[in-house]
Symmetry: C2
Subunit: 462 residues, 2 copies
C-alpha cells in the first residue's frame, strides 16, 4: 500500500491547499496525539484483534468449513457495523458476481448480507433461498438491535415451519459476552455465541468474529487478514508524523476541516471497493460526528463522508468536484493489479475514431482515467490524496481497513472528541421504541403523537 | 406523492431553519424563475418526453418483447446518464433479487447495467452470461464515450467469436440523431438506432429511449411512466410558489445553500430507491456544480449530494446528521405501501424484551423508524423534508423523477447558472485521451508525463 498526500498541499493545488506553516502548526499536536493513542491502546481493544485471536481464528475457520459443508446459503443478519465489514470483505476479495456462479466455482455458500428491514427486500431474499438450506449469522453487540431482532424472529419462525425442532442448527450468534437478549437466548438454548469483545465498537469490529465468520465462509485465510492489519499497525503506531500515515491522514483532514472542507469523498477505482467506501463512511461519520468535545464544549464536529466510485462517478460527480466549492477532500483509491487483464480487441467492424483503443486494455484505461481525474481535480485546485493498493486481496484490503481505523482514532485526538461513542443515535432509537409500543416508552409515544404545528402551505399533494 | 417542507423552517428546527423573511426575500425571484422556465421550455426537450413519444413507445415496447423472446440476458452498456435512469427504474419497480429468480418469475431477460470499466467487473459478467444469449444495449449520446466504446469493442469481438457474422443481431444502439462514432457505425451497418433527442442531456434522459428500452425489457408499461411524469409536470409548471413543489424545493434548497448547507442528503426508506438516490446525485451534482454563473462571474456553485439508505444508514450516518455541523439538508423518502406485508411472528423461542415486536410487521417498523429519525434530526435542529410515495410502481417513481428534474432546472434559475452543461468534465476526458495515446493529444501527453514537484516526506509506503 502506498499513500501520496502531496495533493493536499498548496504546492500542488494552489491557494486552497494546505501550507507548510499550517502543517507545522497542527504537527505541534502530534506528541499529545501520540501520547493519547499510546495511553488508550488497551481501551481500543480492536487494536489487539490482529494479535490475540489465533485460537478463535482456528475455531471460526472450522465453523466456516462446517457451514459450507452443510448449507447452500449464508446470510448475515446485522446492520451498521455488524454488516459493513462483511460487505467490504466480500466484494473486496471475491468474484464480483459470486452468487451467480455455480457452486463449484465458489468457495462455498452463496453469501448475503441483510442490513435493512424493507419488507420487499426481506421477501425477495426468501423468494430465492430455501431457509432449510441456509445458515443465518445473527449479529448484535447489544443483543437488542430492533432491526436484527425482527429479522431473527422472522427467520426463527420460518425455520421452525420448514425444518421443525432442530431450527437452531441453522443459526450462528455473535453478541456481547454477558448481556443482552441474544446472550440470554444463547444461555437458554445452550449455544456458544461468538463474542464481540468489550472495547470493540461495531464500526471497529471487522476483524472480530463479526467479520471473521463471513471471511471463513468466503474461504478467506483469516491469518492473511491479520497479517495485513499488522502491517498497517506497525507503521501506524510510530510517534513521528512523517513515519505514521494514520497521523498524517488524520492531521491533514483536520486542517482541511478547519479550512472549511466539511466533506470527505472516498473514491475507489474498483467495483470491489465500493463497499469499502461504505464501510469508511460509517467509520468516519459515527466516530467524528460529535456535538461535544472532550471538555464538554459544544463543537458540532464532523466531516460528511461521500461514497463515490471511479470511473462511474466521473460521469456523475466530477463536474461538481472540479467546478464546485472548495469544500471537500477526495481520497482516491487505485488498484495496481486486478485479477483480470482485459484486452480491448480489434472488433469485427471499423470503429473509426475509437480505433486508438484497439490493442490496449481496460486495465490501462481505468488506470489512465484515475490519473486523468486526479490531474483534473488537482488542476482545479481541489485537495486530494492517492491510496494505491497493489492488488485486491485479504492482506492489502485488511491493511487498508486497519490504517483507516487508526487514522480515525487519531483524528478523534486531533479534534479533541470521543471517537468511540454514538450518543446521537439514542433519540431515534427511543422514538422507534415508542412508536412500536414497547413498554416503558409511553411518555415518548404521547409526545410523538401530539400534533405538531405545521403550515399547510408547505405541504404539496401531487 | 406528497411533499412536506415544514421541517425546513425555523418553526420546526429552530435557529438554523429558514425564516419566513428569508422565504419572502427569495420568493421575490419566483416570477423571473417562472418566466425563464417558460421561455426555455422548448430548449429543455426532456420536458416534452412524456407527451411526444407515443409512436416510439409502441416501437420500444415491441422491441422489448422481441428481446425477451430471443435472449436470456439484457445488458446496458453505458455510463452516467446512460446507466443511472435504467438502474433507478429497475430496482425501483422490480423484484429486489430479480436476476436470481427463475425465468418464469421474471418479465423476461436477466437485467444488468455495466457502467464501469473495472476489468474484474467486466470479466465477472462474462463468467455468468453467454454472450450468444445476451442482448446488449449500447448507449452513448455523443457516440464517443471512451468507457462505452471500449465495452462495445470487447462485446463485438466476443459476439463474433461465439455467433459469427450475425453478431449485430445482439446489439441495440441509442445515440445522437446525426453525429458520433455510434451513428456512423449504425449507418455503415444499416442499423436504425434509437435517438437521444437534442436538448435531452444524459441526466435528463430516463424517459427517452435511453431508459425506455430498459423499461420495455423489464415489462413496464411505458405509458404509466409518461402518466407519472405528466402528473408531476402539471404541478411543476404552475407559476405560484405555493402551488409548484419544484419551485418550492429549488427555492428552499437555494436558501439553505446560502445559509451554508453545502450538502444535500437523499435518504429513501426502501431498498428499491437506493438507485433513485444515485440518479438524483448525478442530476443535482452535474446540473448545479458550476464555476461560473450566467453572467460569467466565478461562483463555484453546487451542493454535494449524499446517497443514504434508511433504515440501514441510521446505523452509519445519523450520529453525524444529528450531532454534527448544520451543513446539510436531508430529503427523506418514504413509501406508504410496499408490495409485501411482512409480519414479525411470535417465534418458537422466548425473545424476552423483544416480545413487544411479536404480531407487528416490518412495514410498521420501517415506517416507525422513518418517523423516529425525522423526529430526531428535527429535534437536533437539522433541516429536512419528507417525500411520501404511495407505492413503488412506474407511475409514482416516474412522477418523483420528473419532479426532481423540474426542481433541478428551477434551482439552476434560482442560482443563476446553466444547469444543462458540464464543462468541468472536459479536462479529465482530454487527459484520458492523452494517456491512452489518442492522436491529437500529444501535447497534453507530454504535459502529463513531465515529473511533478513533490515532497517525498508526504509519500508513505506501507
Amino acid at each position: 500500500m502506498r499513500i501520496d498526500f502531496n495533493n493536499m498541499l498548496d504546492t500542488a493545488v494552489g491557494e486552497h491547499g494546505i501550507t507548510m506553516a499550517e502543517v507545522e502548526a497542527e504537527a505541534a499536536k502530534v506528541p499529545a496525539v501520540h501520547a493519547a493513542m499510546t495511553a488508550k491502546k488497551d481501551e481500543m481493544a480492536w487494536r489487539a484483534l490482529p494479535y490475540n485471536q489465533d485460537a478463535i481464528a482456528r475455531d471460526i475457520t472450522d465453523k466456516g468449513n462446517w457451514i459450507n459443508d452443510h448449507f447452500q446459503n449464508f446470510v448475515v443478519l446485522g446492520i451498521g457495523g455488524s454488516a459493513l465489514g462483511s460487505k467490504a470483505l466480500f466484494t473486496g476479495t471475491k468474484h464480483l458476481r459470486y452468487n451467480e456462479l455455480k457452486r463449484a466455482e465458489r468457495a462455498g455458500c452463496r453469501f448475503y448480507v441483510v442490513d435493512n428491514v424493507d419488507p420487499d427486500g426481506i421477501q425477495a431474499l426468501f423468494d430465492i433461498i430455501d431457509p432449510a438450506e441456509t445458515c443465518f449469522h445473527v449479529i448484535s453487540k447489544s443483543g437488542n438491535t430492533v432491526e436484527t431482532m425482527s429479522q431473527f424472529m422472522i427467520v426463527l419462525h420460518m425455520l421452525k415451519e420448514t425444518i421443525g425442532d432442530d431450527f437452531m442448527r441453522n443459526i450462528v450468534l455473535t453478541t456481547d459476552k454477558e448481556t443482552g437478549i441474544l446472550r440470554n437466548i444463547a444461555n437458554a438454548y445452550n449455544m456458544t455465541p461468538y463474542v464481540v469483545p468489550d472495547g470493540v465498537g461495531g464500526r471497529f469490529s471487522v476483524l472480530s468474529p463479526v467479520g471473521l465468520v463471513s471471511a471463513a465462509v468466503l474461504g478467506l485465510d483469516i491469518q492473511m487478514l491479520f497479517e495485513g492489519a499488522r502491517k498497517a499497525d506497525e507503521k501506524c503506531t510510530k510517534s513521528d508524523l512523517y513515519e505514521n500515515p494514520a497521523y498524517m491522514y488524520a492531521m491533514l483532514q483536520t486542517i482541511a476541516m478547519h479550512k472549511g472542507c466539511n466533506i470527505s469523498v472516498m473514491m475507489p477505482y474498483a467495483d470491489g471497493l465500493a463497499n469499502t467506501a461504505e464501510w469508511y463512511a460509517q467509520l468516519w461519520a459515527e466516530s467524528l460526528g460529535k456535538q461535544y468535545d472532550l471538555s464538554g464544549e459544544i463543537v458540532h464536529a464532523g466531516q460528511t463522508p461521500v461514497r463515490a466510485l471511479g470511473v462511474t462517478d466521473q460521469h456523475s460527480q466530477i463536474q461538481l468536484y472540479t467546478e464546485g466549492p472548495f469544500d471537500k477532500v477526495i481520497t482516491f483509491v487505485g488498484v495496481e493489479n486486478f485479477d483480470t487483464v482485459m484486452p480491448i480487441p480489434k472488433p469485427p467492424i471499423d470503429v473509426q475514431d475509437a480505433s486508438y483503443l484497439e490493442g490496449q486494455t481496460l486495465n490501462k484505461l481505468i488506470a489512465s482515467e484515475l490519473a486523468a481525474t486526479e490531474y483534473a481535480v488537482t488542476q482545479a485546485g481541489k485537495m486530494n490524496m492517492m491510496v494505491t493498493l497493489s492488488e485486491l486481496g485479504p492482506v492489502e484490503l485488511s491493511e487498508f481497513l486497519f490504517f483507516l481505523e487508526m487514522a480515525t482514532a487519531a483524528a478523534g485526538e486531533f479534534l479533541g472528541i470521543n471517537a468511540f461513542d454514538q450518543p446521537g443515535v439514542e433519540a431515534g432509537k427511543i422514538a422507534t421504541f415508542a412508536l412500536m409500543g414497547r413498554s416503558g416508552y409511553e411518555e415518548k409515544a404521547k409526545e410523538l403523537s401530539s400534533p405538531k404545528a405545521q403550515n399547510d402551505k408547505f405541504i404539496f399533494e401531487l
